[in-house]
Symmetry: C2
Subunit: 215 residues, 2 copies
Amino acid sequence: MKFGIIGTGDVAGAIATKLVTLGHEVNMGARSTNNEKAKEWSKLNGALASQGTFKDAASFGDIIFNCTGGAVSLDALEMAGSENLSGKVLVDIANPLVRGEYLSLVPSLSNTTSLGEEIQKKFSDTKVVKTLNTMHYSLMVEPSLLKEKHDVFVCSDHEDAKEKVKEILNWFGWEAPVDLGKLPNARYTEMLSTVWRPVFQLTHDPIFAFKIVRN
Amino acid sequence: MKFGIIGTGDVAGAIATKLVTLGHEVNMGARSTNNEKAKEWSKLNGALASQGTFKDAASFGDIIFNCTGGAVSLDALEMAGSENLSGKVLVDIANPLVRGEYLSLVPSLSNTTSLGEEIQKKFSDTKVVKTLNTMHYSLMVEPSLLKEKHDVFVCSDHEDAKEKVKEILNWFGWEAPVDLGKLPNARYTEMLSTVWRPVFQLTHDPIFAFKIVRN
């Protein structure tokens, strides 16, 4: 399968490298051409790895991962081009965080809406699936870094796209993703992502994750 | 020790009953005098149990629990009277939820502030401790209803008050509350509380809770 990765940061690198390791063709897309991180990643990851712009990555992939910072994701995806995203599954991993002494969420992208929903509204021919946005990037593609089971959440308005993404999550090592239903529930997983920082300030170790404990 | 409970709902009932069971004197306070639920609770819980208004409960207790709906907590505490809360520990369990097809948080009480912080600002002579706001009321006072360990969070700007509340949490069965530091981190546990509903829609069983999984 061919994947396009929008973004060049740590999340993008983790997802892109994992997909190549699993034998898939991956294009990592940057804001501008000749991005050093994208070129470096491509060089290190062999024949299945390529790089280009947001537009290149979007047109390359059958499935697209949004790994940009949530506060700029809508702009980044606009640069990628709705025509290049049309009919495709977009896996949205971003959180619309505003950094500062205390984290907050971009007001226009939270509470009574979410980044996932706003992407879905703007790119109505694309099937947005929200997932993987509540843990450190190293756990996204290797949940067994924690000995104890923990949870990944997934939601979407498109059942077929959600099932496809659950399969990809299985490849990554997630046995039973928690299906939170429709895309508006992304509001709550995006909110949950903010709990990450105070917990990290306590643990000083980014390898932790959330779990729903049930009987 | 003497406790005042502000509120008469399920959360208030669970906390008040547990405290009486533990041998403490408890006054349950309602918005108006002669509240049926408060009278019923008092009648059922013996000599240690009494009831009255918000003001009665606040003036009775050395430690006060805010168990009102978060969207109306500031008004309820104003009715209780700052003079009756002054110098006391206030355990804030409420979440500023707006109910609807999808939950949201009251904008003026969330994101860059929290209900906990707004209570602390308004009642500056009171020591606010935020805790117990992320699980079903039955688990608040009986965490062992779930076989597997799960977490309760606690934060406050007042270390002495926080330690006192951690001790009360110990009485309730919480062995190691997760100390999230200062009160502004209530923003994140209040956000976390919203994840409760989509998970409940999935599990159809309110007896579940959040856990931080670490190595």
